[in-house]
């Protein structure tokens, strides 16, 4: 049932999902929802924040959801500070900017990330997943600036930038992209993820040869414990994923997922 909490509404999902669309400031609190049910709440009920008690950093994720509802500008200005808390340590921190363009930029990003992961405690078991998430999120950001398949000439490159960022705190690795295009339609992205769950991944693939395969966001969500999507239309898109840091994959493989969406005109 919904309960007002300042400017936000907390909805305890243990009593069931809402039957209709909720106010966009609603934060759903659940315990062990399956990934497809999390996406259902976002896509069908308009719930912009779903946070799970049994998930990673529950209290911090609820605080983050409140901040995204009440002070969205703070999230847009410093998303990693918002996710980890401004006073969190930055011992393991990379933040490098790369302008969009042909494929070698992505190779540079992935190469940097690979080196970063080698020195990051607890990243051993999620190496492949982190590289895949980085590849998909960077590709999604970069394709707003230039085609990602086939030869690219200068006239096809739109002015703008894509920045890859990553930070870890010993429990979570958060990584992803910020771009200056603000072109992502968050609702379409959520529908694509939902389609992969409902219709299958192969059936959801976009066969248009010039673009992406349309399943990258699903793959990133599937690998992540939390996904953060924020769009300031025409100005900025932020898509980040949190992955669990642990020595053993078995300890984290069944953690439930969180999802956060924030859109502003």
């Amino acid at each position: 049932m919904p309960k007002r909490d300042g400017a936000a509404t907390l909805w305890d999902l243990s009593a069931g999902a809402p039957n209709e669309r909720v106010e966009p400031d609603t934060i759903g609190i659940a315990s062990s929802l399956e990934p497809q049910d999390v996406i259902h709440l976002v896509a069908e009920c308009g719930m912009e924040h779903v946070v799970q008690r049994d998930g990673l950093a529950f209290e911090r994720e609820v605080q983050l959801a409140r901040m995204m509802v009440m002070e969205p500008a703070e999230f847009f200005s410093a998303p990693l500070d918002a996710i980890f808390g401004a006073d969190a340590g930055t011992d393991h921190f990379i933040d490098f900017a790369v302008t969009c363009g042909p494929d070698e930029k992505k190779k540079h990003v992935l190469h940097q990330l690979e080196a970063y992961l080698k020195g990051l405690t607890g990243a051993r078991s999620i190496r492949e997943e982190a590289m895949m998430v980085a590849d998909e999120l960077y590709t999604n950001g970069a394709k707003n600036g230039a085609p990602i398949v086939g030869p690219v000439d200068a006239s096809q490159v739109k002015p703008g930038w894509v920045r890859f960022i990553a930070r870890a705190d010993g429990m979570r690795l958060v990584l992803g992209c910020i771009d200056s295009y603000g072109a992502l339609d968050a609702a379409v992205m959520v529908r694509r993820i939902q389609s992969c769950f409902k219709d299958g991944v192969a059936q959801s693939i976009n066969q248009s040869q010039g673009g992406g395969a349309g399943i990258g966001s699903y793959m990133a969500f599937n690998a992540a414990m939390s996904m953060y999507v924020a769009v300031e239309r025409g100005r900025r898109t932020i898509v980040l994923c949190a992955l669990p840091l642990s020595k053993r994959l078995k300890e984290t493989i069944n953690l439930p997922k969180n999802f956060h969406v924030l859109t502003r005109d």
């Binding site: 590849d135 590709t139 990258g216 020595k247």
Partner: protein
Amino acid sequence: MVDFKVHEKTDGDNLLLVFEGVIDEDVVFPAVDTGTYKKVFIDLKGVKSINSVGIREWLNWMKPLSEKAQLVFMKAPKALVLQMNMVEGFLPKTGFVKSFYVPFYCERCDKEESVLFSVGQEIELSRGAYKVKFDIASAKLCAEQACEMEMDASEAKYFQFLKRMAG
């Protein structure tokens, strides 16, 4: 990151393809004369990663090929095993995985190993089910006496594709 490369070798009716590198938007899979070969063996040991566009290209290349020839996959790394489990058709219905890598880890020694499991040896398939016959103690993955090496994956999820092969 390593660009994608293919090495080819023929042996009568059989073709061996050895894949190396990253399967992404730059991948160019080889054109295979499906009238010539009955079996195509694909060695995947050198594949480092695959992304969503790579998955699309793989499916588009694999589908017509699997209708004409039997495909046998060998030494599939974790990155491809994950896709076999997640994407229907990634492992074609007529495809057969002869061997694949399984991750192991010991927290005590902080040591990791990727162990090659082969169907008929470490894995037994029968009547829609699979059975793991790997004995970790006798495999001696680590020289340390007190080593606590164990499989670093959820067995039910990681071996899911075997059920389809056994069916």
